[in-house]
C-alpha cells in the first residue's frame, strides 16, 4: 500500500506552548484511520497543519506519489490537491440550498473565470442528486441548508466533501450531537467513503471509533503515543495512564 500523506518531525509552538511536538504520521490510500487523544493533545492543530491553516515551525508534510510538499501552499491549493476537511461544528453555507451547496463543492475548476462561465450540466445535476441520495438529503435539495437539522447539516458537509472527490478526508468529530440512528448512518457513509480514499476521523467517542473498525492513532501532548487496533491501544499502559490521569 503506497503512502498518500506523510507527516514527519513536525513541531509547532504557540506563545511558548508546544502544541505539536515532533509528530510523525502516515496514511495510505483507501485507508480509514481514527485519531483519538485527550483535550489539547493537538488533534485539531494536526489537521490545521495538514490543511495549510497553520504553518509548522519545523518538519515536513509530503503528499501523493509525486511527493510534493504541502508546506507553503495555501488552504485552497491544498484542497485542490485533494484534501477535504470537515469541521467540528457543521459548516455549510446556510443561506443557500442544499443543491447549491453541493454544486459548489462538486469537483470542477476552481478559478474565478471558469466559475463565472460555469453552468451546471445535466450530468452535474445527476451527480448532485446521487450524492444527496447517499447522504439522505435527496428530498431536501431545494431547501435552504440553514433550515436543516444538526445531523443533516453534518451529512451535508460530508456530502460536500465527497463531492470534492478528495483523496484524503479529514473529519473532526462527525458524530458529535447526533442521535444513535444518525450516528449509524454517519458510520456507514464514512466506511463507504474509505473504500475509495483515505479517511482520518478525529473522535472522542470510543463506541463510534470501535464501529469504524480501523487502525487507531493516539495523540498525547502533540506526539503519537500509540498506534494500532483499538484493542491494542486501549490495552497499552501508556494510553491507560494518560486517560486515567485526567
Amino acid at each position: 500500500m503506497s503512502t498518500l500523506l506523510e507527516v514527519s518531525g513536525v513541531s509547532v509552538t504557540f506563545d511558548g506552548f508546544r502544541a505539536i511536538n515532533n509528530l510523525s504520521f502516515q496514511i495510505g490510500e483507501a485507508e480509514m484511520r481514527a485519531v483519538i487523544g485527550p483535550n489539547g493533545a493537538g488533534k485539531t492543530t494536526f489537521m490545521d497543519i495538514v490543511t495549510g491553516k497553520t504553518r509548522p515551525d519545523e518538519g515536513r508534510v509530503i503528499w501523493g506519489e509525486k511527493s510534493i510538499s504541502l508546506l507553503g501552499m495555501n488552504e485552497a491549493r491544498i484542497a485542490q490537491e485533494g484534501i477535504g476537511r470537515k469541521f467540528q461544528k457543521p459548516t455549510v453555507f446556510e443561506e443557500q440550498t442544499v443543491q447549491e451547496n453541493l454544486l459548489m463543492a462538486l469537483k470542477k475548476p476552481r478559478g474565478w473565470f471558469s466559475v463565472l462561465t460555469y453552468r451546471p450540466s445535466d450530468a452535474d445535476l445527476a451527480k448532485v442528486d446521487a450524492l444527496a441520495g447517499e447522504i439522505g438529503l435527496r428530498d431536501q435539495l431545494t431547501r435552504t441548508s440553514g433550515e436543516l437539522s444538526h445531523g443533516q447539516k453534518q451529512w451535508l458537509e460530508i456530502g460536500m466533501l465527497l463531492a470534492q472527490e478528495p483523496r484524503l478526508l479529514l473529519v473532526d468529530e462527525p458524530a458529535a450531537g447526533m442521535t444513535p440512528a444518525e450516528r449509524e448512518h454517519t458510520t456507514d457513509i464514512l466506511v463507504e467513503a474509505a473504500k475509495t480514499r483515505a479517511v482520518v476521523v478525529v473522535e472522542h467517542d470510543m463506541e463510534f471509533v470501535r464501529r469504524l473498525n480501523c487502525k487507531v492513532t493516539v495523540l498525547h501532548e502533540g506526539a503519537v503515543l500509540a498506534e494500532g487496533s483499538l484493542d491494542h491501544v486501549t490495552s497499552d499502559q501508556n494510553v491507560i495512564d494518560v486517560y486515567l490521569e485526567r
Binding site: 490543511t51 495555501n74 488552504e75 485552497a76 491549493r77 484542497a79 485542490q80 477535504g84 476537511r85 469541521f87 459548516t91 455549510v92 453555507f93 446556510e94 443561506e95 443557500q96 447549491e100 454544486l103 459548489m104 463543492a105 476552481r110 478559478g111 474565478w112 466559475v115 463565472l116 460555469y118 453552468r119 451546471p120 445535466d122 460536500m160 470534492q164
Partner: protein, 393 residues
C-alpha cells in the same frame, strides 16, 4: 434543461422595464425634448441619482453579496470622475485657447498652445507646467480607458495587499477608509497635478458641442440610465450563477469556501476590482452632470453615506441598493436644498437643513436595529404573504 438567465431572474426584467419607463417619462417631461415639466437642473439631479444608484449596486455586490464592507468606493468613483474630467477640461480649454490665439496676427505654434492651456488650467495652483499624469489628457479614447484602468489598478494593488494579508471584517473597512483618506489628502495638495482643492471645473460643457444644456443634460441622463441598466444586468448575472454562490459562500463562511478549494483572496480581489470599475464608470458619468469635481468629494464620509444608502435600501439584493440610493439621496437633496418646509413648534423652529443629518443618522441606527434587510425587506413580506395565500388556497 437550462432556463435562460432572464427567465430565472424576473426581477431583472421588471427593473429594466421600470427604468425604461422612467427614462421615457423624464424625456417626455423634459425641457430639451418634451413638454418642459421638469427643469434641466432637476434632470441633472435625476441623472446624478442614477449614477449614485450604479455605485450603490457596486457596493451591494461587494458588501451585500461578498461581505466586504468597503468604505473606499467613492475613491474609485472620484477617480473615474477625475479621469474624464481631465479630458473635458483639457479639450475645452484647448478650444478656448486656440480660439483666442488665432485672432492674433501670427498663428500660434503647438508649443504656445500647450503653454497657454497649461497656464489656464494650472495658473490657479501657481504653475503652468503639465504634470505627467496629464500626458494623455488630449485623447478622449485613452482617457476613457483610464477611467477604468486607474481605479481598477488602484483597487487591484490595494486589494491584493489587503486580502493577501487576510485582513477582514472591520479591520478591512477601516483600511479602505484609510485608503480613501490618503487619496483625498493627496489630491488636496496643490502639487498633486489635479489642481488641489480647486478640483476640475466646467465639466458640464462638452467641448465642441454647441447644443444647449437642456439637451446635453438629457444625453447624460440617458447614458446614466443605460449604464445603470447594463450594470444591473451585469450584477444580476454575476450573482445568479455559481460565481454568486461562491461569493455568498465567502461572505457566510470564508473558511468553508477556502477548504472547498476556492481561493478566497482571488475572488475577493476580482469582486473588489470589478466593483471599483463599476464605481469609476458611475463617477465618470456623474461629474460631467455635476460640473465640478474636487477632493472633498472623495472624503471618507461620502463612502460611508453610500453604505448608509445601501443599508437602508436593503443589502444583499440588487434592487434594494438602487432603491436605497435613489430614495435617500433624493430625500437628502430635498431636505438639505432648503425646499422642505420648516416645522414651527412655537418655541422652536425645526430647520431641515440643520436637522436632516440628525434624522438620517438616527434613522440609520433604527434601520440597522429593527430592519436589517432595509426597505427591500418590505418586498419580502409582500412576497411571503402572497405565497402564504397561495398555499392556503
Amino acid at each position: 434543461m437550462q432556463r435562460s438567465f432572464i427567465a430565472k431572474n424576473p426581477s431583472v426584467l421588471i427593473f429594466l422595464s421600470i427604468l425604461a419607463l422612467f427614462t421615457l417619462l423624464v424625456t417626455v417631461m423634459s425641457e430639451g425634448f418634451g413638454v418642459g415639466g421638469i427643469s434641466t437642473s432637476f434632470i441633472k439631479t435625476l441623472g446624478k441619482t442614477l449614477c449614485l444608484c450604479l455605485i450603490a449596486l457596486a457596493l451591494d455586490l461587494i458588501w451585500g453579496y461578498t461581505g466586504i464592507l468597503s468604505l473606499g468606493h467613492f475613491a474609485f468613483f472620484g477617480l473615474g470622475g477625475y479621469m474624464i474630467g481631465m479630458w473635458l477640461m483639457y479639450e475645452r480649454t484647448r478650444l478656448i485657447v486656440v480660439d483666442s490665439l488665432t485672432s492674433t496676427e501670427i498663428p500660434p505654434t503647438d508649443g504656445e498652445v500647450i503653454d497657454a492651456i497649461g497656464n489656464q488650467i494650472f495658473g490657479v495652483v501657481g504653475s503652468s507646467e503639465f504634470p505627467l499624469i496629464w500626458a494623455f489628457a488630449d485623447s478622449l479614447s485613452i482617457q476613457l480607458i483610464l477611467v477604468l484602468l486607474v481605479p481598477g489598478v488602484l483597487a487591484l494593488i490595494f486589494g491584493w495587499l489587503a486580502f493577501r494579508s487576510r485582513v477582514t471584517g472591520v479591520y478591512l473597512s477601516i483600511l479602505t477608509q484609510a485608503m480613501t483618506l490618503a487619496l483625498a489628502l493627496y489630491l488636496f495638495q496643490n502639487d498633486s497635478g489635479l489642481r488641489g482643492n480647486n478640483g476640475l471645473s466646467g465639466l458640464q460643457n462638452l467641448p465642441g458641442v454647441t447644443a444647449s444644456q437642456d439637451h446635453v443634460s438629457l444625453w447624460f441622463f440617458w447614458a446614466s440610465a443605460a449604464a445603470l441598466g447594463a450594470g444591473y444586468v451585469l450584477c444580476a448575472w454575476l450573482v445568479s450563477g455559481k460565481f454568486g454562490s461562491v461569493i455568498r459562500g465567502i461572505r457566510d463562511n470564508e473558511a468553508r469556501a477556502r477548504f472547498l478549494g476556492y481561493s478566497v483572496e482571488t475572488y475577493k480581489l476580482v469582486i473588489f476590482t470589478l466593483t471599483a470599475c463599476i464605481a469609476a464608470v458611475a463617477g465618470a458619468l456623474y461629474y460631467p452632470q455635476a460640473g465640478i469635481i474636487n477632493p472633498a468629494e472623495i472624503a471618507p464620509i461620502a463612502s460611508i453615506y453610500l453604505a448608509v444608502w445601501v443599508a437602508i435600501g436593503g443589502r444583499g439584493r440588487l434592487y434594494g441598493a438602487v432603491i436605497g440610493a435613489a430614495f435617500v439621496s433624493l430625500l437628502s437633496t430635498w431636505f438639505t436644498g432648503g425646499q422642505a418646509p420648516d416645522i414651527n413648534l412655537g418655541f422652536y423652529t425645526i430647520k431641515w437643513v440643520d436637522w436632516w443629518l440628525v434624522l438620517l443618522g438616527l434613522s440609520f441606527v433604527l434601520v440597522t436595529l429593527f430592519a436589517p434587510k432595509g426597505i427591500g425587506g418590505l418586498f419580502d413580506i409582500v412576497v411571503e404573504r402572497r405565497a402564504a395565500k397561495e398555499a392556503n388556497q
